[in-house]
């Protein structure tokens, strides 16, 4: 446990010393400022339109556009969380293997899985803090400006966090065998695949083409990030009668709750494989 904690604090300190934390914080503030401005002016416009017309749209445009913008913001947080997970961790094992830094760590009275789990825990903390700050910022801005509260906000966010954790497991596993560059390339390819597969599945659902839907499901099995995202939207928008603007924020083909369980299984198994692979590896 002590070794684990030593590695966790070391990982967080590395992110801090390499200025990743500061750059992340600065970027988060910039992002939230732009979001707040954009959100405010969109609502100003809608409020002006509403006072002109007598309504009768069948839905409340302020809630609809607010929901849309908030979900768009959260989508960015989802993507940044995944990107952060991949960028932080892609080189943590492979890089230290390439530079031989790992040799002085592993010749201590430690077990290899402790090193991997300690680093993993450090990344989880950084990713969670980052995503929490970003989502809290977005939700707070929306609430203060328009009083919008997403339904089931926490269970949806849990899925978004889980999505970043599945990516973390992918890159931790990749890092035990691949070079840093190959690992990063693999991670983003998988994310791209999930994204594309998600679209194919949505279009397939519109066209009632089962093959396309199946392609999407298979891609979700290879990387569940996109399926988790769509499930999160489903949860947030349950009961809202907003408009469906096209984009990555619509859910026509619904991922089942089984997909959530699969994603947890995916994150755990890949991490376990990473521990196993690293323990067996010759250095």
């Amino acid at each position: 446990m002590k070794t684990l904690w030593t590695m966790t604090t070391l990982t967080i300190r590395e992110a801090q010393r390499r200025r990743i934390l500061w750059v992340g914080l600065f970027a988060a503030i910039a992002f939230l400022a732009i979001f707040a401005l954009g959100y405010h002016y969109v609502l100003v416009e809608i409020e002006a339109e509403m006072s002109d017309s007598a309504g009768g749209l069948g839905f409340d445009p302020i809630t609809a556009f607010s929901t849309f913008l908030v979900i768009a913001g959260l989508y960015v947080v989802h993507f940044l969380g995944i990107a952060l997970a991949a960028l932080l961790s892609a080189g943590t094992l492979s890089g230290e293997i390439e530079t031989h830094t790992i040799e002085t760590l592993l010749t201590k009275p430690v077990r290899r899985w402790q090193i991997v789990m300690g680093k993993w825990a450090g990344f989880v903390i950084i990713i969670l803090v980052y995503m929490t700050v970003m989502t809290a910022g977005i939700l707070l801005i929306a609430r203060l400006r328009s009083g919008l509260v997403l339904s089931n906000v926490y269970s949806g966010l849990a899925l978004v966090f889980l999505s970043a954790l599945t990516m973390l497991s992918v890159t931790m596993l990749g890092g035990t065998r691949l070079s840093t560059l190959a690992n990063g390339a693999m991670a983003f390819t998988l994310f791209g695949l999930a994204f594309l597969g998600g679209w194919i599945e949505q279009i397939g659902a519109v066209l009632r083409n089962e093959v396309a839907v199946d392609v999407g499901i298979v891609s979700s099995l290879i990387n569940p990030a996109d399926a988790l995202w769509r499930r999160a939207i489903l949860i947030w928008r349950s009961g809202d009668t907003g408009l469906d603007l096209p984009g990555p924020f619509i859910v026509l083909s619904e991922p089942s709750t089984l997909m959530t369980q699969y994603a947890i299984f995916y994150a755990v198994v890949l991490l376990a494989l990473a521990l196993w692979s690293f323990t067996r590896r010759d250095l």
Partner: protein, 308 residues
């Protein structure tokens, strides 16, 4: 009663079809300063990695301080300075030692006591708060050495510990090794600087093609090989043929007429002189010279390249 510091039997490592270490059978006693010599690609680094549990042997077995290779608990009594001394460069020297002390399982008090002393020992007392990123190659190697000594280990592996050091730094390392000898610490030293091995080691192993060719105390290596320079009046082919019985094939320098040959032991020297005098040769000069470790290295490692 005390188990050897290192004991291996037929350790072998294959990477696919390539044999990195064919057969490593070694025994290093506690308290020895043991030199591990061999040409590049002989399998030295792979051997050290197997001993330290970084690489899993394909077959064979071994023990460190009486415990099987790869046993994590044993590693609390083992120090290691790797050949590639790259560390977390965003840590300061003191933080770096503190991290490794924690990984050794040392208490905060033990770390607080050991770290300043070790920084002094390797000449980095003033640099405790400097980040490793600002360190020179030699300073990194010295902080790496301090790291290897953190936990008062019973056995220390030093892989090319002076490759990045200037003459002063090398001397410092020799002094540190001498200090370890006084404390009864076993040192397993892998170095290309044979003059250093000569100054520090008790015994050496020569390895080539992943096999141990020879293990011997340094004095034995010194005594068993002698080069003799001879100047004889009017040397004849018979003289050269006769000398060949006492050692290696004699070589005569065409210009000076000086004959050189190697004897396999000191005892043959008086015999050879007796034969020369009895045969009526006029002996003007005879100078025996001890071979340096480097010359012995080339003899032992370089001969019979086809073998094995």
């Amino acid at each position: 009663m005390t188990s050897p510091a290192i004991e291996t039997e037929n350790l072998r490592k294959e990477f696919g079809s390539k044999v990195a270490v064919a057969d490593l059978t070694l025994r290093v006693e506690q308290g020895e300063i043991f030199g591990f010599l061999g040409p590049n690609g002989a399998g030295k680094t792979t051997s050290i990695k197997m001993l330290l549990g970084l690489t899993q042997p394909t077959s064979g077995n071994g023990f460190l301080l009486g415990q099987p290779l790869g046993d994590p608990a044993t590693r609390s009594r083992v120090g290691f300075l790797p050949e590639h001394f790259r560390f977390h460069e965003w840590l300061t020297a003191a933080e770096f030692l503190n991290l490794h002390g924690r990984l050794y399982g040392m208490s905060a008090a033990a770390r607080a006591e050991a770290i300043p002393d070790l920084l002094e020992l390797v000449g980095l007392g003033e640099r405790a708060e400097t980040r490793l990123a600002a360190f020179s190659k030699g300073m990194l190697q010295r902080i790496g050495l301090a790291q290897a000594l953190l936990n008062n280990p019973g056995l220390v592996f030093l892989d090319e510990p002076t490759s990045g050091l200037d003459p002063l730094g090398r001397r410092l390392v020799r002094t540190i090794i001498a200090g370890l000898r006084d404390e009864g610490t076993t040192v397993f030293l892998n170095s290309h600087f044979l003059s250093e091995i000569e100054l520090t080691c008790d015994r050496v192993a020569f390895i080539r093609d992943g096999r141990v060719l020879r293990v011997a105390p340094l004095e034995e290596l010194e005594q068993e090989s002698l080069r003799v320079r001879l100047r004889v009046g009017s040397p004849t082919p018979e003289l050269l043929a006769g000398l060949a019985r006492f050692g290696s094939e004699p070589v005569q320098d065409e210009r000076s007429g000086v004959i050189t040959l190697h004897l396999t032991s000191e005892e043959t020297l008086p015999e050879m002189v007796r034969w020369l005098v009895d045969a009526g040769h006029a002996l003007y000069e005879l100078s025996p010279q001890r071979l340096s470790l480097e010359e012995r290295f080339i003899q032992i490692v370089g001969e019979d390249v086809t073998e094995g």
